[in-house]
């Protein structure tokens, strides 16, 4: 790929665009919000979802992936939009192997969808989990790098003391591959960017209390998830970060994002610099109020 083509693909998305979402909801709260937000946006015609891919999380790869898959199905059920089940796919049962990438259902779907797109009209892969499926698809079918843009929530800003963050480090060889392979990449760092997508029980209660009856089930679930965390016996109201909505909002409203082009760093525990590498886009800030307003509107109306 030429640098000019890559930079062209890194121009801000002009919607409605096609997306694939790669997610690890089981051990998280924020993926659930992001999935519901994305599906509601798709139902309004603001984007087209061409795949919901279950990544793994936790220590057991296959078991974690299956739990993540069930979480996606749960969100689809709560929103009563069964057609999305047809595009929900199982991801990895093992970590990334560059020489022998696992061709899962999710990988097959990513390759198929990307091949229906072009560099002028790429599919946006919204990564709100690890990189296993993305790297496997790119290793199995390198030509798709010119047909998709990866928008990945993970790592930390370049001036941070390390790149240590769970999405980038869950399967670090996958991350290394994605940073090296030249696929157009929009990186949305955790520190000090998505970590700022803070809200509180009190704000969520206020905005999600009044909703249309069809959204009762999803809103109740999401509020409980936020307030109770992982332990349903415990109510821990307070403040929290819903990072992953940051990955969805970028393709809907890139004007809410402060971003810039930079030379892709070398992925390792400490970001390393090689000025001759290809360009990527990095996000420095997200307009939190605008994004939350869109989330609340879509989840309740």
């Amino acid at each position: 790929m030429t640098e000019s083509k890559r930079v062209e693909m890194l121009e801000l998305p002009r919607g409605p665009v096609s997306v694939i979402i790669d997610t690890d909801p089981h051990l998280e709260t924020d993926d659930h919000y992001a999935l519901a937000y994305a599906i509601c946006a798709a139902e309004l015609g603001e984007m087209k979802i061409e795949g919901l891919h279950a990544d793994f999380s936790g220590k057991e790869v296959e078991e974690g992936m299956l739990k993540n898959y069930d979480c996606v199905i749960n969100i689809i059920d709560l929103l009563n939009v069964p057609k999305y089940k047809e595009i929900t796919f199982h991801g990895p049962t093992r970590k990334f192997d560059k020489e022998n990438p696992e061709v899962t259902d999710a990988v097959k779907n990513m390759i198929r969808v990307a091949n229906n797109h072009t560099s002028e009209d790429p599919v946006y892969v919204l990564g709100i989990g690890g990189g296993t499926t993305i790297a496997s698809a790119l290793a199995a079918a390198p030509e798709i790098a010119e047909k998709m843009v990866i928008v990945w929530l993970g790592g930390n800003s370049m001036h941070w003391h390390s790149s240590m963050e769970c999405n980038f480090w869950r399967d670090s060889s996958a991350t290394e591959f994605i940073f090296d392979c030249g696929v157009p990449l929009v990186m949305i760092p955790a520190w000090n960017v998505t970590i700022q997508l803070k809200t509180s029980s009190y704000e969520l209660d206020h905005y999600m209390k009044n909703r249309v009856p069809e959204k009762d089930a999803i809103c109740e679930f999401l509020l409980n998830r936020f307030n109770r965390g992982f332990d349903p016996t415990k109510v821990a109201k307070g403040s929290g970060t819903i990072y992953d909505i940051g990955g969805i909002g970028y393709v809907l409203h890139p004007e809410w994002y402060v971003t810039r082009l930079m030379v892709t760093p070398v992925f390792q525990y400490h970001w390393a610099s090689n000025p001759q590498r290809h360009m990527m886009r990095i996000c420095d800030h997200i307009n939190r109020d605008a994004l939350y307003m869109d989330v609340f509107n879509k989840l309740t109306k």
């Binding site: 001036h159 941070w160 003391h161 520190w191 803070k198 509180s200 009190y202 420095d284 109020d289």
Partner: protein, 301 residues
């Protein structure tokens, strides 16, 4: 001052330190929170509050703005029912250093006296949550205080930001330039993308502050008034209460991610000269523990 002496002063504060708060109290709503936080922390014996100094703010008549800021400090003290601190409240300089030569004011006099007080152990922390006029003036008139204070200044933006443009830093550019060239040990708390993320919402504030006491009522009221003045109906709104970070830094430096950097050259864009003295810069604040400490201190009766 040798570089090692400067770096020693830039170690995170420990124990009960002495502070002066320099504030443009009436120009927004977060200074009032910071004043209340500092007074309550002093009353709890967690710091020694040696002065509340009113600084000017920009406008047609900076002297009139200075008076408003001074009166606002007194108003906050009334609501705190802590009149004893009125004796430590002083008016600063009525004119910017861009407009008039350095001239003594009550606040400058107090800053010099307290800084030079040999009975104090350790440096005096000057927590500046407004422009730099009073501090620069004091250092111009009594250069020896540079070795006796640490300036904690909420000003400017992160070094990777697109400009330094921020209210406090550009309030009095002659003062800012002087301070950045003075070699005074300085901890810079940048607005973007650090202090600007010290956000809360009406809902969180109501939860923690409603019907508690006089000062909480006042603080809630000024936020409500500010909101009513600026709100657009139905728009999600969070409010940055950034100035509390300056106070929190001397109380709980562990809640701050900071590092030493070479002091940049002040200009519209940060300029770099790697041979300049070191300063400390803040990259992130753990907002939850800071807000919790604030809420618990000011809501007590």
């Amino acid at each position: 001052m040798t570089e090692s002496q400067r770096v020693e002063k830039l170690e995170p504060p420990h124990g009960k330190v002495s502070i002066i708060v320099d504030t443009d109290a009436a120009c927004e709503v977060d200074d009032q929170f910071a004043i209340a936080y500092a007074v309550r922390a002093a009353e709890a014996g967690e710091l020694v509050l040696e002065g509340l100094h009113a600084s000017l703010s920009s406008g047609e008549d900076t002297a009139e703005k200075l008076e408003r800021n001074y009166q606002e400090i007194l108003t906050v003290l009334d609501h705190l029912h802590s009149p004893e601190y009125k004796a430590k409240t002083f008016r600063g300089c009525p004119q910017k250093l861009t407009e008039a030569p350095a001239a003594m004011s009550d606040a400058v006099k107090n800053l010099i006296e307290v800084a030079n007080d040999e009975a104090r152990e350790g440096p005096l922390y000057v927590v500046a949550i407004g422009g730099g006029t009073n501090i620069a003036t004091a250092m111009m008139l009594a250069p020896e205080i540079k070795e006796k204070i640490v300036l904690v200044w909420l000003a400017g933006n992160s070094l990777h930001w697109n400009s330094t443009m921020e209210w406090n830093l550009h309030m009095d550019t002659a003062a800012s330039e002087y301070i950045f060239n003075s070699g005074v040990p300085m901890v810079l708390m940048p607005a973007w993308n650090v202090i600007v993320e010290m956000r809360t919402t009406i809902f969180e504030l109501e939860h923690y502050l409603k019907d508690k006491n006089d000062i909480c009522d006042y603080l809630l009221k000024i936020v409500h008034d500010f909101h009513d003045k600026h709100k657009i109906e139905g728009v999600v709104w969070s409010k940055t209460i950034g100035d509390i970070a300056g106070i929190a830094y001397v109380l709980h430096p562990g809640s701050f991610e900071t590092r030493l950097v070479t002091t940049p050259v002040f200009g519209y864009y940060w300029g770099s000269n790697p041979q300049r003295p070191l300063m400390r810069i803040c990259d992130s604040v753990k907002r939850d523990p800071v807000f919790m400490d604030l809420f618990s201190k000011i809501s007590k009766n």
